[in-house]
């Protein structure tokens, strides 16, 4: 009887341990800027997208029968902090993968740590090609990349048939890299175009000295390769000085800032007539899951969703699908699954290229649009589409200011 009792206790203890293990959540690390000087606006949107999709997955029973848990780390947009955050997520929090990166300089620091620990790293929104060129097997890129934007911008600039183009680029890996690439693409697609770029401090508050010389010899087009808040300040000062947007000079945003929730509050008239490169537009075709994520976000925030919401959602979904496919949370197994994955996320179907260089483990044919803002406070859904994914530009639709 005594031994039977002992056996029962042992069996209960084992069952309890197994149940506890089964109930242990799968932990995903998210490193984002939650405080200055990083882009907290972007960090907040990434977090919103992550939260929506994690809840959706957990409501459906989680992954491999386990709930997903997210541990956030604030990298402040500083590479050293990002490196420390990733180290902490991997070693202390024991995350199965890291995601959320949205500033290239930080991603470049973080992937070194992920590579060292062989931990999967899904790059949410770092555009610098250098991240891909590292060729790290652990790093996957479902977001946009500089070459894609530069080639798209060069195509638009060539179609606009402009002669003089000046780009204002933030002094970061992303900004300088983008500006240089744009120059290279313009040499191929529009060799007659005179192009130069000016690097500006992303923490700067007064860009008037950079703008004033343009009053004497205005270019045909000013290109923005800066993120807010510096981008907003630059736009206001370009407008205040009568440089752009104007009848002579068009303004083209290549940083995808038009769908930020605080865009109109900060630029007002300076944003009217802006041409924009965009990775999301409500008129773009989108799977049902994407529409569902967009609706949840709109209901929660009262704002139209933007690309970061979807990119963040896809980042988490990728990790979840890879775990399901690998039937394991082991880093090497997840990496292997991601390399061969045929993924359908919130933005469409894709798989990762394995070609070395900027295409390495990248969703190469990432869809984009070009649109123009024609009224102050105009939501993205009401803007004029100049180019839908995979179609030629409709330059005739572009409107210029009267003066």
């Amino acid at each position: 009887m005594k031994s039977l009792f002992r056996l029962a206790v042992a069996a209960s203890a084992t069952a309890f341990a197994v149940a506890s293990y089964a109930a242990d959540p799968i932990v995903i690390g998210v490193s984002i800027a939650q405080s200055p000087p990083g882009s907290v606006v972007q960090g907040t949107q990434v977090k919103d997208g992550v939260e929506i999709v994690v809840k959706m997955l957990n409501d459906k029973g989680g992954v491999l029968g386990r709930q997903l848990k997210v541990v956030y780390e604030d990298n402040q947009g500083i590479p050293e902090k990002g490196r420390a955050a990733t180290e902490k997520l991997i070693t202390r929090d024991k995350v199965v993968a890291v995601t959320g990166g949205h500033q290239s300089s930080v991603c470049l620091a973080e992937i070194e740590v992920a590579h060292r620990y062989k931990t999967p790293y899904v790059n949410t929104n770092c555009w610098s090609d250098d991240i891909r060129k590292k060729g790290y097997a652990e790093v996957f890129n479902p977001g946009n990349y500089n070459t894609r934007v530069s080639s798209a911008m060069a195509e638009t600039i060539a179609a606009l048939k402009v002669r003089n183009v000046i780009a204002f680029a933030e002094n970061t890996d992303y900004g300088i890299g983008q500006a240089k690439l744009l120059g290279e693409f313009l040499q191929k697609t529009a060799p007659q175009t005179q192009y130069k770029y000016v690097a500006l401090d992303r923490a700067g508050k007064d860009f008037t000295p950079a703008v004033l010389p343009l009053r004497a010899s205005p270019p045909d087009l000013v290109v923005n390769i800066m993120l807010p808040p510096a981008a907003y300040i630059l736009m206001n000062q370009l407008y205040e000085q009568g440089v752009a947007p104007s009848a002579k000079t068009a303004f083209y945003d290549g940083a995808g800032i038009a769908d930020y929730p605080d865009f109109w509050q900060n630029v007002k008239e300076a944003g009217k007539h802006m041409l924009a490169f965009g990775l999301y537009h409500p008129a773009m075709p989108m799977p049902a899951l994407g529409k569902q994520v967009g609706e949840i976000y709109q209901k929660q925030s009262g704002n139209e969703p933007n690309r970061l919401i979807f990119q963040a959602a896809d980042s988490v979904l990728l990790i979840a699908r890879a775990i399901e496919q690998a039937k394991s949370t082991d880093g090497a197994a997840i990496v292997k699954a991601l390399q061969g994955i045929d993924f359908e996320g919130v933005r469409g179907k894709f798989s990762f290229a394995q070609e070395a260089g900027y295409k390495y483990q990248q969703w190469v044919e990432i869809p984009y649009v070009t649109y123009q803002l024609t009224e102050v406070n105009q939501p993205v859904s009401k803007t004029t589409l100049i180019q839908v994914p995979g179609k030629p530009l409709l330059i005739d639709k572009v409107i210029k200011p009267a003066k």
Binding site: Q34, S35, P36, P37, V40, V41, G43, T44, N171, V198, A199, L200, D201, A203, G204, K205, D206, T208, P209, A210, L212, P213, R215, A216, P228, P229, Y232, I233, N236, Y239, E240, Q241, G242, P261, D262, Q265, N266, V267, K268, E269
Partner: protein
């Protein structure tokens, strides 16, 4: 006409710098400490102006005095609760711990940035403009109505401050405390009140600078960091504790940066001030208008 454009723009930027730097130098002149939270006085002014105006619907011109009051309140509270331990027993003035001031103001700076980040949010908020004129040409010069109003108000504030310090009873008391705290105390001057006045005035100037620039700089929680760094440079170039020195240094720096950015390189814009700082420290360490200190 680019040089004229650059000169006028440089002067306007210099006036913004001066509003910030003068408050900082006043605190140094009286307490001999550097207020590392000075940039956050500016940030609080910008946010108060923007929120009072946008959230409560108060007209922008009425939101300005509210922003000034917020700066005064913050200045008073900083002096009353954080600075007073420095000179509670003024007899031990010589034993004042600089480290205390550095740590406490630096801590206050971080606290305020993070409080605003968590309470108001991380998004930059453009303040409402005091003028509907988004751009206007005055001869060859072009600016927004807001920029011109800001420059005008800055001039009035700086002249008003100079008159207050030179002519008013409280201003004279402040001068006395700046010269010799113990001596002023023996002469019957309430030195604690003089310190409070200076902190409040400094807070008002910084908060008004933030409020006036809120429609131009789109303030976020860390908006004060950049002008604070500029202010430290200006205060040292002008001579620590010298109000005229700070004004002249601020205007000179504004013009130098404006020309240097165009004729040398925009990339080095922020380094011009630092080069000037090094030159001043090498050849006139007390600053342009500062006095040589001698301790026995």
């Amino acid at each position: 006409m680019l040089p004229l454009d650059l000169f006028v723009n440089g002067l306007i930027i210099g006036l913004y710098y001066a509003l910030m730097a003068v408050g900082l130098t006043m605190i140094f002149g009286i307490l001999k400490v550097v207020n590392f939270a000075h940039g956050e006085f500016y940030m609080i002014g910008a946010y108060t102006y923007t929120l009072v105006s946008l959230a409560l619907g108060v007209p922008p011109w009425l939101a300005l005095p509210v922003a000034a009051a917020s700066g005064a309140l913050l200045g008073w509270a900083t002096e009353r609760f954080l600075m007073r331990p420095l000179y509670a027993g003024y007899g031990s003035w010589a034993l004042m711990k600089d480290e205390y001031a550095v740590v406490v103001t630096f801590g206050l700076s971080l606290l305020l940035i993070n409080l605003v980040d968590k309470i108001v949010g991380p998004y930059p908020m453009r303040g409402p403009s005091l003028s509907e004129v988004t751009r206007m040409a005055i001869g060859p010069f072009m600016a927004s109505g807001q920029k011109l109003i800001t420059a005008g108000v800055a001039i009035v504030l700086l002249i008003g401050l100079a008159l207050f310090i030179k002519r008013s009873l409280w201003g004279r008391q402040v001068q006395a405390v700046a010269q010799n705290r113990l001596g002023a105390s023996i002469a019957g001057i309430d030195t604690a009140r003089a310190s409070s006045i200076i902190f409040m005035a400094s807070g008002v100037l910084a908060a008004l600078a933030g409020a006036l620039l809120a429609p131009v700089i789109n303030p976020g929680p860390d908006v004060g960091v950049f002008p604070a760094v500029k202010s430290y440079v200006i205060v040292v170039i002008g001579g620590m504790g010298s109000i005229p020195g700070s004004v002249v240094a601020a205007l000179a720096l504004g013009v130098l940066e404006s020309f240097g950015a165009v004729y040398i390189s925009y990339d080095y814009r922020d380094t011009f001030g630092l080069v000037l700082l090094i030159l001043v420290l090498l050849f006139r360490p007390q600053g342009l208008f500062g006095e040589r200190a001698r301790e026995v």
